[in-house]
Amino acid sequence: MTPSLVILDAVRTPFCRAGSALAELDAVELGRAVVSALLTKTGIDPQVVDETILGCVGQPPQAQNIARVIALRAGLPQSKPAFTVHRNCASGLEALTTAHAKLCARQGEVFIVGGVESMSNMPFYFSRQAVAKFAALSRARSPGQKVGALAAFRPADFSPVIGLQLGLTDPVSELNMGQTAELLARELNIARDAQDAFALRSHLRAQSTVHAPGEVCPLYVGGKVVQSDNGIRPDSTLEKLAALKPLFDREYGTVTAGNSSQITDGAVAMLVTSEQAAARLGLQPLGRLSGYSAVGCDPARMGLGPVGAIEKLHPGNLDEFDVVEINEAFAAQVLAVLKSLKHEIDPAKLNPRGGAIALGHPVGATGARLVQSALIQLHQTNKSRALISLCVGGGQGVAATLERL
């Protein structure tokens, strides 16, 4: 029998728009704070943790294998290994499913998993030509050589390539993520007002969310407390959303900044173990990971990833799930998934606390946030089963099912 992985506790940072309250903290600081908060909240001895597995999409150049850097700085023992996983937007969930795979392989029983992303701190790159010129300049010794090296620069050399933009462009189809959403909207005939209505719903649902105690850990930046998500716009209206210009297809497009997920900083950490280890630690689990799947699809239509992933994981009808969380990369994309699924999802059960359109989408962390949020909702409503799914840039879909314990 496959061993089962239980989630003992989960903590996340506030999710804050890139360039806002958490911009001063890099991904390592975010991760250190959230792992430290998890250790503090659970009160476990760091020695019992077998491995730390974190998802991160844009790893900072000064912290390669960021999971290891975070583990050490959060006070986990040097002798305990750590590694970073990357499945684009699903990295935070990948950390959880990887822990399950390791548990099945008897390579550990107690894991810290989660995801971190500081989209405020995504690097800027110089072009290869510019880099070559900088190198020539640093090699130049005599004043003459230096002048020569400087003279080789052209204005274009100083306009950097934005790392974030590169990351959000599919290298195979060469479409920006927003353009893949436009494609789905066109092909599946998803109107602008339906998208805006879905976005508005996300903000209103997020605004009325009641957090569980300790769900969000405050962060401390420059003498100030940052305790709440700052992307939610409770004053959002259909009129305001309708006034926004399309971002990716200026003339005929329907995808706007208002009905897309936000670019955000945030981190999530969870303590997950075997059932036996949970009993040993004397902690009551929140829930169990009962299944998961990953599928590939057309990179140009990556938004439909959840369709294949959900149907592979659970071919029957979806009524048995009390909470369904589908990551809101784009309103058009979620609506496209709903249209394409064989079985219907009760709208009341879908993203009951809103989603990434309101909270933001720190790409490496979101998968783990969905797990945390789904489990807390099951406890708050005293229900038993949840389904979560994310579309993944590059043409993939992942899904997972959770049971309350």
Binding site: T40, K41, G43, P218, V225
Partner: protein, 659 residues
């Protein structure tokens, strides 16, 4: 084991009478194939190397051997100790010997070091570990010095801090080596320099990694040419040296009010020695040293030094290794304690019910750490590691993984009992529970929990990073294990613990508060605040009583006074008006930004000083009679906890001498 290698043509080594006692050898001499004599100082059965008559004579004998052996081309002096090169002169000898023998010891040291300086072969000191006082003076008599880059390597002349002066050539040789201004700074401050700083000042020739120290020493010593440091040309010009002397004297008098003789004498000695030849200069060092060594102030400073050493010495490792501590309260004391602990390698959880208080506490910790980096007390990396050791929470989290909980909440017995009752069910079965109260009864707080034997008082002083004292308060039921663990912990984090009995105000606040209240009374009787404060500054206190009240906060002081059943009603009107001191911008003084308080020229009122000082001494006698702490502990606690003038020894020593 003695690897003394002598020229076989040489006759018997000279025999000194004391050698007949066959004391265990403190020096080992070994000559390698290149003709380098390696003289290793390694006092048997001791962690430190010190100079006393026996070790000086032994060194002298080895210098004989080096001088007489033509196969020796160079001499390197090193230490075999892990953390100490040479700690200096044996202070116990200086403290206990009759004057004639102290004189003999000074003469002997000077003679041996002068002999080292005039050896025909090049000499080098390879310094690793603490090199202080006489140790540094030995290296000054060598042709060159190099040092390891290790953290334990510290070089300096701390004599003036103990009421003495460097008299084995330090006052004479140091200015010739590094210049007058820099030498005065080292001698008068008594600071111990890191190898890097010593290199900058030109005191040493090179800083090398510890494992390269010997190889480098062997390499460098063979390339040395014999040279004697010369007086700097500038320093010999009388206007220059007199201007430096005048400036330094002025600063020194402003700082010490002329209460400390040693730095002033050191200054005169250094300035005069600069104009004299070596022998006359050494003669001056000797007579000055003799006049100081027997003075009351010096004897008291040395006694205090020994008491502090004894109180701070790490005991055998306690069964409870405390490496994880929870601090309750993120206020000034809580964050101060947390900052100190994380800087000393302890993992800390700082708890407060208010996230805003945590934010402010963290900001204070970060500010203090940045300041430490700026002042080069720690590296950036060390500061980051310290920050990483600090976790925070505003939630009611499990505390089972913490070995010690220190409650540092507001001074309110009801609140403290509530916190203890709240903590008790969350800790493990051997967690120590401490309160950082400054005056409240420990026994009373302990009634709130089912394990009173693990409850103890751990009274840190504000500002935590500057005040070396921790009062450890045991109530009747506190277990010996808990006391032992608290003492070992305080020492491990670099503080000096004094164990006292559970009685209102313990030692420091018990003695200080009546003195502060008396100052308030005198002020109410019409003596200006500045006059009262000046009187006590002249006594040697680091801060006048009324200014200190402004720093503490009048409300806090009134609360402590009421705990001690002292009348604080004179403070009530000021507290009512919100004049609480520095924190509200107004107390006995106006602390509005931009206002400066020039030193006043108020009429001196001599009886003020006596009356206030006597009050402290009288209260100290009561504390002693009530057996709350020993006389030595009371004096030490007052010096370390309040800055009571060290040269007066403490309130009890002061009373003994002057009454």
């Amino acid at each position: 084991m003695n690897s003394l290698v002598l020229d076989p043509t040489h006759l018997e080594p000279p025999v000194h009478h004391h050698r007949l006692l066959r004391q265990p050898e403190a020096f080992h001499l070994h000559v390698d194939e290149k003709g380098i004599a390696w003289l290793t100082f390694d006092s048997p059965e001791s962690q430190a190397n010190v100079f006393n008559e026996a070790t000086l004579r032994e060194l002298d004998d080895h210098l004989d051997a080096v001088e007489l052996d033509p196969s020796i081309h160079a001499l390197v002096i090193r230490s075999a100790k892990e953390k100490i090169f040479i700690a200096g002169a044996d202070l116990k000898a200086v403290r206990s010997l009759p004057p004639a023998e102290v004189d003999g010891l000074i003469r002997l040291g000077q003679a041996v070091f002068s002999r080292l300086a005039s050896l025909p072969v090049p000499t080098l000191a390879a310094i690793h570990g603490a090199c202080a006082g006489g140790g540094t003076e030995l290296t000054l008599a060598c042709d060159a010095r190099i040092a390891s880059d290790d953290n334990v390597t510290r070089i300096g002349l701390p004599e003036t801090q103990l009421g003495l002066i460097p008299a084995w050539g330090g006052c004479t040789r140091l200015p010739r080596l590094i210049g007058l201004r820099s030498a005065l700074d080292m001698i008068l401050s008594g600071k111990l320099l890191s190898a890097k700083d010593a290199l900058k000042r030109g005191l040493i020739a090179k800083v090398v990694p510890k494992d390269r120290l010997e190889a480098e020493a062997g390499h460098i010593v063979l390339s040395l040419t014999k040279s004697r440091p010369h007086r700097r040309f500038w320093d010999t010009l009388w206007p220059i040296s007199s201007i430096i002397g005048w400036q330094t004297r002025r600063l020194l008098l402003a700082k010490t009010r002329g209460l400390y003789a040693a730095p002033l004498k050191a200054l005169e000695t250094v300035l005069t020695a600069l104009r004299l030849n070596l022998e006359t200069a050494l003669e001056l060092e000797r007579t000055t040293m003799l006049s100081l060594a027997q003075s009351e102030a010096t004897v008291r400073l040395i006694d205090l030094f020994f008491r502090k050493e004894a109180a701070s010495k790490s005991s055998a490792s306690s069964p409870h290794q405390i490496s994880r501590v929870a601090v309750i309260g993120a206020g000034v004391m809580g964050s101060g304690i947390a900052q100190w602990l994380v800087s000393r390698g302890i993992h800390v959880l700082m708890c407060d019910v208010k996230p805003e208080a945590i934010a402010a506490g963290l900001a204070r910790v970060n500010e203090r750490l940045s300041e430490a980096v700026k002042r080069r007390l720690m590296t950036k990396q060390q500061a980051r590691e310290a920050k990483d050791r600090l976790a925070v929470t505003a939630e009611r989290v499990p505390l089972t993984s913490y070995h010690l909980v220190i409650e540092a909440a507001t001074e309110d017995i009801g609140l403290k009992k509530k916190i203890f009752a709240d903590i008790a069910p969350r800790v493990s079965e051997d967690t120590l529970l401490a309160t950082n109260t400054s005056a409240l009864g420990i026994r009373e707080i302990a009634t709130a929990v089912p394990m009173p034997d693990r409850v103890i008082g751990l009274h840190f002083f504000n500002p935590v990073h500057r005040m070396p004292l921790v009062e450890i308060i045991a109530h009747r039921e506190t277990s010996d294990i808990a006391i032992g663990a608290a003492v070992a912990f305080s020492r491990a984090i670099g503080k000096t613990p004094v164990v006292v009995k559970d009685s209102p105000g313990f030692v420091v606040n018990r003695i200080l508060t009546p003195y502060l209240m008396e100052a308030v009374k005198l002020h109410a009787q019409g003596h200006p605040a500045a006059v009262i404060d000046e009187a006590m500054l002249d006594f040697g206190m680091p801060m006048g009583p009324l200014r200190l009240l402004d720093e503490i906060g009048l409300d806090v002081a009134a609360h402590v006074a009421s705990t001690l059943h002292l009348d604080a009603s004179l403070l009530t009107p000021m507290i009512g008006k919100g004049h609480l001191g520095v924190k509200t911008g107004r107390g006995f003084y106006d602390h509005s930004p931009g206002i400066k308080h020039p030193r006043t020229s108020w009429a001196h009122v001599p009886w003020l000083q006596d009356q206030l000082a006597d009050l402290m001494s009288d209260e100290a006698k009561k504390v002693l009679r009530e057996d709350i702490a020993s006389a030595a502990e009371i004096d030490l606690a007052m010096v370390l906890g309040t800055g009571y003038p060290p040269f007066r020894g403490g309130p009890l020593s002061h009373a003994r001498v002057f009454r």
